[in-house]
């Protein structure tokens, strides 16, 4: 019972964790991408379309990564290369993704077509560890994208804090002009970071379509990209904090399903609200002193 609950919580946290880790990366590089929701949506659509036509969930994952990368590069072109306003570019990406996937879905699968039935990602049990009590199912008997997201947390943490690459990336987010004067290629590195975040957001969309939702419908992400955005702020721009935030959200979400199944007479909408209220309440906890990257969201226009 507890095993299944924790396993559900981790699986529900995974799409948000993947997207939030990507966003963390670009925000540390000084770029605010509010188009995260759109990138996840594009990933979910690509995953669904590819998995439905090929019958292979892995083809879906690959397609999601490519599609996420593609839309991220459009964002990067406008927001970094052309130095347009990042908020505007991100808002535009959200609209394009929502309208584009909605229209394409209707072209491909008809106006009233039933929701797609998709192959789900296979669970992969890690020998030995998966039979551990309590955490075995949650951490070691999951689909591949769960492992990818969990491994990324310590990797990103080390890269950001203890490598030259991480230092350079953070310099872009604190003072891009100073970084440029030291010879760093500000735009190139930012485009690369955005590309990586696009792949991660795409994978988050795939984890959603091929596991959590098991289907694609218009607007299937239902605000998870915005939640991921919130998780990054909640995490105060740290990978471990991001994991905590995503897990908190996953736990509240799993709890909501439990309550819905068991508590009769309580309106289900109150449970749907739970993850958001819990996250709000968690924000009241005393926070550390970490602040946002200083140049976050500012236009960098070298002239």
């Amino acid at each position: 019972m507890l095993d299944a609950f924790l396993a559900a919580a981790v699986a529900l946290a995974t799409p948000i964790l993947l997207a939030a880790l990507g966003e963390l990366l670009v925000e540390r590089a000084g770029v605010l991408n509010i188009g995260l929701e759109g990138m996840m949506l594009v990933g979910a659509f690509a995953a669904a379309a590819a998995a439905a036509s090929s019958g292979s969930p892995l083809a879906g994952v690959a397609a999601a990564a490519v599609a996420g990368l593609a839309i991220a590069l459009v964002f990067a072109l406008v927001a970094v290369t052309l130095a347009a306003d990042q908020i505007i570019a991100g808002a535009a990406v959200n609209l394009i993704a929502l309208g584009g996937t909605g229209a394409l879905y209707r072209v491909l699968y008809g106006d009233t077509g039933a929701a797609l039935v998709l192959p789900t990602l296979p669970r992969v049990a890690i020998p030995g560890l998966s039979s551990l009590p309590v955490v075995g199912d949650a951490l070691f008997r999951q689909h591949a994208l769960v492992y990818v997201s969990l491994v990324l947390v310590p990797v990103l943490s080390v890269v950001l804090a203890h490598t030259g690459l991480g230092l350079r990336l953070r310099a872009l987010g604190e003072h891009p002009l100073a970084a440029a004067s030291l010879g760093l290629r500000v735009r190139g590195m930012r485009v690369a970071a955005i590309g990586a975040s696009g792949v991660l957001a795409g994978l988050g969309g795939a984890a959603l379509a091929l596991w959590t939702a098991g289907t694609f419908v218009e607007g299937v992400t239902a605000g998870r990209g915005f939640v991921a955005l919130a998780v990054v702020v909640f995490a105060r721009w740290s990978p471990w904090g991001t994991l905590a935030g995503a897990l908190l959200f996953g736990l509240a979400n799993a709890l909501q399903f439990q309550f819905q199944a068991s508590a009769v007479g309580v309106p289900y909408q109150l449970f749907l609200m739970l993850p958001y209220v819990v996250t709000l309440a968690a924000l009241l906890l005393p926070a550390g002193t970490t602040r946002a990257p200083r140049a976050l969201g500012a236009r960098y226009d070298r002239e």
């Binding site: 929502l98 909408q269 924000l283």
Partner: protein, 369 residues
């Protein structure tokens, strides 16, 4: 380019570009979907402007976008990153429904309905304001979270306390005549309601507040450079709370206007994302009143035209959303900073520096410690 020409180009350029992008993209998408592009574009234009009834449809659609757009404009100019207009819109609609259906009808009830909507929207915005002022929690995160809370609150209300008495559908009872907004120019399809001129008036008033009052000056100063505003002795925290509440009140009023003027009922998914689209509207309008009005009308026309396009050319109306996004992207990509630089040179250095700082502040640049 001479300064005058550059200025004119900067004013008209984005508008021409926006219309051109929208039309060509609609044609391309229609072709992809297997329809005749010419028919689709014709339907898009005529569906939004082709008859008085279609113009009325466009105006009706513009009211919520304009009010929420004004809400976003006020917040962003004051350095408040309010992503929560959607939640404030829903909170306003919810309170308005309660006042409209839970009180025995009385003459002039509509005024109380609108006031309830504005108050509820303002109250909904006070929560993120308090988080930011008391706990230094970014309003980006709290407003987003509260959008979802409002969404489920409405969903619960229309299947619970505010559901119609027959309990057939997840919606409220129709609000009484006394709670509805008056309609005018009945020959135009009888859809134009008093909330539309109200929306235009309040959008103008919001711009006036920002530009011509000392309160507006303090808000803009806080938006541009909060530490400097504090040093200057401005009550930044109090102003911030008031601006946040006013922004929420505008969005909440939009919800009440939509209820009392158009739908006359509250239902699940009452907002098709007006609060999010309003961010695009305000940004496309460069966070200024004339631009925001133009952008709201443009987005509303796209919505009205896309519905017509769906009927006559078989192109799904959801394409309008993609066209709105692409338009925004095209204007952002070309409007800044290359074109902006030309204008700045024309306007002289001092002013240019000011507008650059303001643009950075509007873009959510860090407010400093």
């Amino acid at each position: 380019m001479t300064p005058a020409v550059a200025r004119a180009a900067a004013r008209v350029g984005p508008a021409v570009l926006a219309v051109a992008t929208a039309l060509s993209l609609a044609a391309a998408l229609a072709a992809i979907a297997g329809s005749d592009p010419a028919t689709a574009v014709r339907a898009l234009v005529l569906g939004s402007l082709g008859s008085t009834a279609n113009v009325a449809d466009t105006l009706v659609r513009s009211a919520p976008l304009l009010l929420c757009g004004a809400a976003v404009m006020l917040a962003f100019r004051s350095g408040i990153f309010n992503i929560g207009a959607d939640g404030q819109f829903l909170a306003g609609a919810l309170a308005a429904t309660a006042v409209a259906t839970r009180i025995r009808p009385f003459p002039g009830q509509f005024a109380c309905v609108l006031i309830a909507g504005a108050l509820a929207g303002g109250a909904w915005a006070i929560v993120p304001a308090a988080f930011r002022i008391r706990r230094d929690v970014s309003e980006v995160i709290t407003t987003i979270l509260l959008n979802f809370v409002a969404l489920y609150l409405v969903s619960w209300a229309v299947t619970g306390p505010l559901q119609e008495s027959s309990r057939a559908y997840p919606q409220s009872a129709a609000i009484p005549e006394t709670a509805r907004l008056a309609r005018f120019l009945h020959g135009t399809g009888d859809r134009l309601h008093a909330g539309i001129p109200l929306a235009f008036g309040l959008a103008a008033a919001t711009g006036g507040l920002l530009s011509f009052t000392t309160f507006g000056l303090r808000l803009r100063a806080a938006g541009l450079n909060a530490p400097a505003a504090r040093l200057a002795g401005f009550p930044v925290r109090r102003d911030l709370a008031v601006a946040f509440a006013l922004s929420g009140a505008l969005a909440g009023l939009a919800g009440a206007v939509e209820l009392a003027g158009v739908t006359h009922r509250l239902f699940d998914r009452f907002s098709p994302g007006y609060g999010y689209t309003a961010i695009a509207v305000a940004l496309l309008g460069n966070l200024r009143t004339p631009g925001t009005i133009a952008a709201a009308l443009f987005f509303a026309a796209l919505g009205a035209g896309a519905s017509a396009m769906e009927r006559s050319a078989g192109v799904s109306a959801v394409i309008a959303v993609a066209v709105q996004g692409a338009t925004l992207l095209a204007v952002a990509a070309t409007g800044a900073p290359a074109l902006a630089r030309v204008v700045q040179r024309a306007r002289g250095r001092g002013e240019a520096a000011a507008s650059e700082t303001e643009a950075a502040a509007a873009a959510g640049a860090p407010r400093g410690a």
